[in-house]
């Protein structure tokens, strides 16, 4: 196993579960501002990789076993959305046969720890140097039998390494697109993305808008694998409505973390005039965004930090609504690709485990807005205090509560993670979705892009 080593990047605080998704997606700009790695950092990284290559798993007996490979940008753990979702999909529940040998490959350390699979390694970035990437992959895996590769593409190295394994080991490749880095963004060149998708036996996207955009651009079929929720936390019945009463009278919840200062500032300014107090569950000590006490006070936001999913489920159920900030399509929007094609995984999760109505703040054409509208589990308003306040009042209405919680209950059960690992394994083997469970969820879904 790779020795645990802290990243040279500032460590995010809050070791609880369920962190904001896709750290890298939101932090690209901020990362540029951080100090460049020193010679020692580079040497240490090389030694990390070197030691991993020479460790126990390279021994003969282990070599004979068939392995599955996971390729991601950074560490898989409970502190960011991709990590949580991938772990949920690939980890087998207790008392079930263990998954085959899972080998996790990543290309950067953002979190300091990795918590999935039998082995893991960070390979050096090659910046898309194909031959070098092949060489690294061959050096690492040579002699093994690689059955399947699951790749969550975000940067060029993940795609190149996936292609290398697919080519050199004849493994079946599955592309699981969670964040767009090609259609509305330019993180991955078209040619590389096309080759990667062509070589994938199965192509997955987390939500219909993302699927539609990729299918339209590349002319290849995608299946859906949304952010599923832990079955144990999904209520078996419709929870009672929460009207302004009890300990949380008048308070709302805010869910999620911020990767761009402007998104946080924009939300604070809008909430300032909304008149409600807000409890925030998300990372409030970010190295990339300043959450000043003054801003928090003016917006009446009380930060709780990241909490475990179990606690989150219990907490969120007692609020009348959950605020989920998202992007807009204003000319000032800095994260157009995120706004246009990303669906935060916390939205289906929050609805499934709490049934609490969602208040999306942002553009009406965002994926988040479409999601809550389609399932009837919330509404969307712009970053405008008056409109936000009116929406809060509407959502706390008892009839609205009953209706939306009922909708969320029905939706939630469909997002259960029961058997999801087997579903994925079977789907990769078949080269198509093993069944229509996720297609049914999104039947009739409007995917028109803004």
């Amino acid at each position: 196993m790779e020795p645990a080593r802290r990243s040279s990047l500032p460590e995010p605080e809050g070791l609880g579960r369920r962190h904001e998704s896709r750290a890298t997606a939101r932090t690209a700009g901020a990362l540029d501002r951080l100090p460049h790695p020193t010679h020692n950092d580079r040497l240490r990284a090389k030694l990390d990789a070197f030691l991993a290559w020479k460790s126990d798993y390279a021994k003969g007996d282990a070599n004979q076993r068939e392995i599955d490979v996971l390729i991601t940008t950074n560490e898989m753990n409970d502190r960011h959305g991709t990590g949580v979702l991938i772990k949920r999909i690939l980890e087998r529940p207790e008392h079930t046969p263990p998954r085959r040998n899972l080998f996790c490959i990543r290309f950067q350390n953002d979190w300091g720890d990795h918590d999935l699979g039998d082995w893991n390694i960070r390979l050096p970035k090659t910046g898309g140097n194909r031959v070098e990437c092949f060489r690294n992959v061959l050096q690492l895996l040579r002699g093994r039998k690689v059955r399947q590769v699951l790749c969550v593409p975000f940067q060029v190295d993940e795609l190149t390494a996936s292609i290398a394994i697919q080519e050199a080991f004849g493994a079946r490749l599955c592309a699981y697109v969670m964040d767009d880095q090609n259609v509305a963004a330019d993180g991955i060149p078209d040619e590389l993305m096309r080759e990667f998708l062509q070589k994938s036996s199965l192509r997955l996207a987390t939500h219909p808008e993302l699927r539609s955009a990729y299918e339209r651009k590349f002319g290849m079929p995608f299946s859906l694998l949304p952010a599923v929720a832990p079955d144990a936390l999904i209520p078996r019945s419709v929870l009672p409505p929460v009207v302004d009463s009890g300990n949380y009278s008048g308070r709302g919840a805010l869910l999620g973390s911020f990767w761009d200062q402007s998104w946080f500032d924009r939300l604070c300014a809008a909430l300032e005039t909304s008149g409600r107090k807000i409890d925030w569950f998300g990372n409030h000590r970010s190295p990339f965004v300043e959450f000043s006490d003054e801003n928090l006070r003016r917006a009446r936001i009380r930060p709780f930090g990241i909490v475990s999913e179990e606690r989150l489920a219990m907490e969120l159920r007692v609020y009348p609504f959950i605020i989920v900030p998202t992007g807009t399509f204003d000319p000032a929007e800095k994260n157009y690709s995120v706004a246009s094609l990303s669906l935060p995984g916390r939205i289906p999760l929050a609805a499934a485990i709490s049934q609490t109505p969602l208040l999306v703040i942002g553009g009406k054409d965002t994926c988040a807005a479409r999601f809550v509208k389609h399932f009837g589990i919330g509404e969307t308003v712009p970053y405008n205090g008056v409109e936000i306040r009116a929406a809060m009042d509407r959502l706390t209405d008892e009839r609205t509560q009953l209706e939306m919680r009922g909708n969320a209950a029905r939706m939630g059960r469909a997002f259960s993670d029961v058997g999801i690992g087997e579903w994925l394994e079977e789907s990769i083997a078949l080269g198509r979705a093993a069944d229509g469970r996720f297609e049914e969820i999104f039947a009739g879904y409007a995917v028109d892009e803004p």
Partner: protein, 408 residues
């Protein structure tokens, strides 16, 4: 404790690279190359070698990879490399190719597949470098023969942006089997050997003396040839520098006269002075042991010598061979079975002055379409486009209706 010197060296190299400063470990500039993959050495001893030298000889930055030594390593073409995978796993093959080509940036690959190793190497280079790939089927090793498994052949063909076949028969058979488009590129003749005027022998035709061209690939073919010529009243020169493994006196007794091996120019001069050539091919019956070659491969010598000498040709064997189709399509010869009477009829027919002259005229006209000039570049340009750059060879595809004249 025993020390594995190889592993130790590897470890030292790794540690050096890990501890080296950025300036020390900067990578050497990569050389941009094209790779041509063939089963054996590229030289003048076989048709594929002659053809490839004709197309790409003299080009700089060509790496020539083979998997077998058939000519003691003799090669005067590109930078020669030998890569053998044997029963190694796919990833081991990739690692071997990566190591062999370290420091090189491969732009384009031309694979002439014959051995499974050739296919594996081509697939590995394509994967490693993302190089665009052209597969040129010159000999069948998949349809009439199981030299290359379907899965490997399909992968190679699917990964190729351009697929070429040496004969119309090969093209049709591969297109039908794999459902992928192929383009026809026939064997060619060097422009320097193409005469601008018709050559007619000055000796009278009643000598009934011809010349054997092409390779006698099957051990059956020499015997069939001897049986056919023996006591036919026809004699043949055999200018290949050997006697087919048969005592020369025995061959001579049959009417086949072995000659010393000739250089091409000398051979062409000889052919221009003779009335007909004989090309032994397959019978394609149940006893055929070279069906894969006779049915699908168009002998490069046939095109080469037809273009440079215009000599009419008698193809021995079945009318369904690629060679037979070719001479009948262009009206430059006839086909005869391996039986004396049929052969005598063929010789009688082909040595009639007016028939012979007409065939030579057609050979002269056809020759201009089989010139090698610029065809190497034509292949690279076609690869760039993913289809034939122009219709120069597509227009040579036959209608598949043999002329009545060809039947003897």
């Amino acid at each position: 404790m025993p020390v594995d010197q190889q592993k130790l060296d590897h470890l030292i190299r790794r540690l050096r690279s890990l501890t080296a400063s950025a300036s020390e470990s900067s990578k050497p500039a990569e050389r941009s190359c094209d790779v041509i993959i063939t089963p054996v050495e590229v030289n003048d001893c076989h048709g594929t070698g002659v053809f490839l030298q004709m197309l790409f000889g003299g080009e700089e930055n060509v790496i020539s990879i083979r998997s077998l030594d058939q000519y003691e390593g003799r090669q005067d073409f590109g930078l020669p490399l030998k890569i053998v995978h044997g029963a190694d796993s796919r990833d081991a093959a990739f690692a071997r190719v990566e190591q062999a080509l370290r420091g090189v940036a491969v732009r384009r690959v031309l694979c002439v597949p014959y051995q499974p190793d050739d296919v594996m190497t081509a697939i590995a280079i394509h994967g490693l470098f993302g190089a665009s790939m052209c597969t040129f089927i010159m000999d069948d090793q998949n349809i009439a023969l199981r030299g290359i498994e379907d899965g490997a052949m399909r992968e190679l063909l699917e990964k190729s942006s351009l697929r070429l076949a040496i004969s119309p028969e090969m093209r049709t058979a591969y297109e039908r089997k794999f459902g992928l488009p192929f383009f026809y590129v026939p064997p060619l003749a060097p422009a320097r050997l193409l005469p601008s005027q018709l050559h007619v022998p000055v000796t009278p035709p009643d000598a009934r003396h011809g010349v054997v061209i092409g390779n006698l690939w099957s051990p059956r073919w020499p015997e069939l040839l001897r049986r056919t010529v023996r006591n036919s009243g026809v004699t043949l020169s055999y200018p290949r520098g050997d006697s087919l493994g048969i005592p020369a006196e025995d061959l001579r007794a049959d009417g086949i006269f072995p000659h010393a091996r000739m250089e091409d120019e000398e051979l062409v001069r000889m052919l221009r002075s003779m009335w007909f050539a004989v090309l032994p091919s397959g019978t394609l019956d149940q006893s055929e042991d070279r069906r894969w070659m006779a049915e699908f491969s168009l002998p490069s010598r046939l095109v080469y010598l037809m273009s440079s000498s215009h000599i009419p040709v008698i193809v021995l064997g079945s009318r369904d061979t690629a060679a037979s189709h070719f001479v009948e399509q262009f009206g430059i010869g006839v086909t005869s079975g391996y039986d004396r009477a049929s052969f005598k009829n063929a010789v009688d027919h082909i040595t009639q002055p007016e028939v012979n002259l007409a065939m030579r005229r057609r050979g002269l006209v056809a020759a201009g379409r089989f010139v090698d000039t610029g065809v190497g570049e034509w292949i690279w340009k076609s690869l760039e486009r993913g289809e034939a750059f122009d219709r120069r060879f597509e227009d040579l595809m036959p209608d598949r209706v043999a002329s009545a004249e060809g039947a003897i």
